[in-house]
Amino acid sequence: MTDDDRRDAVTPQQRQEPDSGNAPAVPAAGPAPAGEPEPPEGQPVPDRFEDPGLPEHRPRSTDRDPRAARRAEFQVAALFSLSVTGTLLALAAYYTVQVEDDLGVAELLGRLRLSTLLLGIGLFLALFCVGAGVVHWARRLMPGEEWTEHRHVLRGSDTDRAEARRILADGAAESGLGRRPLIRNTLVGALALAPLPAIALLRDTGPLPEDSLSRTFWRAGLHLVRDPEGGRIRPDDLVVGSVVHVMPEGVDEAEHPLEERAKAAVLVIRLDPEDLDQESLGGAHEGIVAYSKICTHMGCPVGLYEQQTRHLLCPCHQSTFDVSRHCQVIFGPAKRPLPQLPLTVDPEGYLVAADGFREAVGPSFWERG
């Protein structure tokens, strides 16, 4: 392949000759595309225009004028020098702008920003000017004439193909693969089965899901505590319209606190009991309702509560739930209402779960039913 390429590369000098060598100027010389109409017989006018060929090379000012070339040379050198300046600036910034431990937040962020800015601008100059200089060099001072190289169809010649076919057939015959089906079949079987252990080995990447998606940390009698500040809640702490982010008491001492928190997060909202429908009132305590905060669409925390409309909005995909109607979906990509956590109070008057969730919280899954 390389031999052919070399032979076919046409230098600019050669190209100046009219239709030199292997460069027919008529475009139709290539294989005609399907559907191309045949040129009508005996027509004096050609069917298509002819390719006029490459235009004359127009020398650049740097080709004609040595002073322009000299100027370009200086420009390139100036860009390279600017790059050196950038490198020095970056190094200077690295050693002079320090981010110390004992700064206030605003000052720390300001210092960090300054450090990033100076380092970055230095590095930008160092890199960009090298690039701009080299490109300028190539465009203004390196030869500006275009070259022409021949392309070959990628397929081999018919002889190549016949030879290749023969070699493949010979090799296959030599291996005896066709004649010895026993070898072939057992090999296929062996290769098909060999990856099985690899797949089996992946089994221990995680436990089977079992009922983990349907369980949460909540169970009857568990206290509601504020999240993240902690502290049990009395109904009197909540005025109508207020909303509290809640976790079950003791969740941080669980074996896997993050996993439990990811399922147990709850929003507690106090409404006027008259605003709640019958279904919601079932698990409510004096107008206080608790709903899972994990969106039934894709599991984001549904944390945006709109007091006037009593709507909960998920910040990820804008599913909207109506708290006064048992957290039914009223808009957006979620389908199921947020599960309700039934509430009651313990003898000391603190809010506790009357029961766990009665269904799986969070996004849907196949086995959910």
Binding site: D47, L127, T205, A334, W366
Partner: protein, 601 residues
């Protein structure tokens, strides 16, 4: 002069081997042909020794001869792929730096560092190390921001490059497989970006992972198992960040390097495509030699891309994880947005209505998650991968295509491409519906409903409009060829006739406007006129091809033929009085005989 020095520098003068002089040019100066040792400067002798060493170890001279002067065409749109490539190199370099400080673990630790608001907090190692890397490693934040900006540029450059290739028909034979490699690279870029986005274990990245796990959960039959195996149990678990790290820094980069190598290898093997123009044909390639011109331009461009990305990172803060806080499944994340390349999937998820989820036979099927997040990207990729074969099925073109199409000359393809872009952009906009709502004080519900309608209705309209525009542009090309350029010079003849003088365009400019081949609708072969001589009856395949063909080529504008130009000039239209009314005439149905006329539905 640097050119004639080159062969000496690349290994002229082996003692035993006559190393080629100036390779392709064949005009190497006499100084280069002399054997080494017979003189020359010290550097030349040293270079000769290196060259000899390399040549005798792996035949360097042949490699130089074969490849150093390969010709690459020049066009600004060819730099889009280069931007992607160089962004990838920047990603590798900055990524290595980040691995020196990042700890891929969610083991709880107490953050102690410069950022006071989080000091003493219990956070994961991943988050704490990302904070340290940002605040306490000098230049760490800069490198992190270069890495993130590069990732955004990488994905954007791939996408735009892909559309350049699509609109110019560069995916046609023999480059179909390179197109497939490109589509796979685009997909992997999205995965890789998402993996990187998730590593700092901040609030946003954790929310992104939560969504990823719900997408896994939505897959029928195996969803909860997949999620459990990937996360090593329940979400978020302790296994996922280290696993994601391996995927992000080892597996996917290795696949990238492999596929990018294949991509570039095929570019060299096929030789680059070129835009149509005088002297540019399917059997040649016109451009600059790789060494030294293209090497300098491409190498320089790497530094330009790296420099500009660095400037962006220096000036614009990106992903300030300290402001979001560590991941915790319960806090609110209002206005949470993924990186832009995930935006279209996020938007699709926002548009899907909830009633797509249903329960049957005791199992839940969440089509509201499955369709936008799994099926949509899958179908889009498959359609993209198969498109080259679809088009060659329609055109029945078996030859190699190396001269690119001007997008206007392929109106249906261009229309389809703009349709795809419209669809994509609408999904992207949907991904920001909450931002639009808060910025413009509109109802989020109204915006979402409107977008649901638009995402269905607008793409076909975009297709039709684009196709019309293409046909119009083609007609303008015809007009230019037939009547020349308007000069603005008004002439009144002795008879009192007033016309504007039109200046004929030169033949090189004309060639650009007439060089393309217009496809004609394909008629299924009728048994009596089969050229192939098989005499077989019309198959379903033929009918399908014929129907698709009509869809593609029913509306078309043929390039001007010499006969038409001669006719136009003879009738005095040529460079004389202005616009004729004769050309651009419409005829009913595809009349294949009427060469050179405009055919419209």
């Amino acid at each position: 002069m640097s050119v004639t020095d080159e062969p000496a520098a690349t290994g002229a003068g082996g003692e035993e081997i006559g190393v080629p002089d100036g390779t392709d040019r064949g005009t190497g100066g006499p100084s280069t042909a002399g054997p080494a040792g017979s003189g020359g400067t010290r550097t030349a002798r040293a270079a000769g020794a290196v060259g000899t060493f390399a040549d005798e170890r792996f035949g360097a001279s042949r490699i130089v001869r074969g490849f150093a002067r390969k010709v690459f065409p020049d066009h600004w749109s060819f730099m889009l792929g280069e931007i992607a490539l160089y962004s990838f190199v920047v990603l590798l370099i900055t990524g290595v730096f980040l691995t020196l400080f990042y700890v891929p673990s969610v083991a709880p630790t107490t953050y102690e560092g410069s950022y006071a608001p989080l000091n003493g907090q219990q956070v994961s190692e991943a988050y704490a190390s990302t904070l340290r890397l940002s605040f306490d490693v000098r230049g760490g934040l800069l490198v992190r921001q270069i890495h993130h900006w590069s990732a955004l540029v990488f994905a954007a450059a791939i996408l735009v490059h892909m559309f350049r290739v699509f609109f110019t028909g560069a995916f046609r034979k023999p480059r179909e497989l390179n197109w497939v490699v490109g589509v796979v690279l685009a997909l992997l870029a999205i995965f890789e970006g998402f993996a990187g986005y998730s590593l700092p274990d901040d609030l946003l990245s954790g929310t992104g992972l939560r969504i990823a796990s719900s997408i896994l959960l939505s897959i029928p039959f195996v969803g909860s198992y997949l999620s459990s195996f990937l996360f090593g149990g329940e979400f978020p678990g302790e296994a996922f960040i280290p696993r994601l790290y391996t995927i992000h820094v080892l597996i996917l980069p290795a696949v990238f390097v492999l596929l990018i190598s294949a991509h570039l290898f095929m570019v060299v093997l096929h030789k680059h495509t070129q835009y149509p123009g005088p002297g540019r044909r399917d059997d040649n390639v016109v451009g600059y030699p790789f060494y030294p011109v293209y090497l300098a331009k491409a190498g320089g461009f790497f530094f330009i891309v790296a420099g500009i990305t660095t400037l962006m990172a220096a000036v614009f803060t990106i992903n300030p994880i300290w402001a979001y806080g560590a991941y915790d499944p319960s806090p609110v994340t209002a206005g949470s947005q993924p990186d832009w390349y995930m935006g279209f999937l996020d938007g699709a998820a926002r548009l899907a209505p909830g009633w797509w989820e249903f329960t049957a036979f005791g199992h839940t099927v969440s089509l509201n998650v499955l369709l936008p997040a799994v099926v949509l990207p899958g179908v889009l990729s498959i359609v993209a991968i198969l498109y080259p074969w679809l088009e060659s099925f329609v055109t029945r073109s078996r030859r190699e295509h190396h001269v690119l199409d001007r997008p206007r000359n392929a109106p249906t393809r261009t229309g389809l491409g703009v349709m795809a872009i419209t669809f994509y952009l609408l999904l992207l906009v949907s991904g920001g519906n909450d931002i639009i709502a808060t910025q413009l004080h509109l109802s989020i519900n109204a915006i979402t409903v409107a977008l649901r309608v638009l995402v269905i209705a607008l793409p076909p309209i975009a297709f039709l409009v684009t196709k019309r525009i293409c046909l119009g542009l083609q007609r303008r090309d015809r007009d230019l060829v037939l009547h020349g350029r308007e000069t603005g010079r008004i002439v009144r003849t002795e008879q009192g006739e007033v016309y504007e003088v039109h200046e004929p365009i030169d033949e090189r400019e004309r060639w650009r406007l007439v060089q393309h081949q217009a496809h004609r609708p394909y008629e299924p072969p009728s048994p009596d006129e089969t050229g192939s001589g098989n005499g077989h009856s019309v198959t379903v395949r033929d009918r399908l091809r014929s129907r698709l063909n009509r869809f593609y080529f029913r509306d078309r504008v043929d390039p001007v033929t010499p006969a038409e130009l001669a006719a136009a000039q003879a009738s005095g239209h040529g460079t004389g009085p202005g616009h004729g009314t004769g050309e651009g005439r419409s005829t009913e149905a595809p009349s294949t005989e009427a060469a050179g006329t405009t055919t419209e539905r």
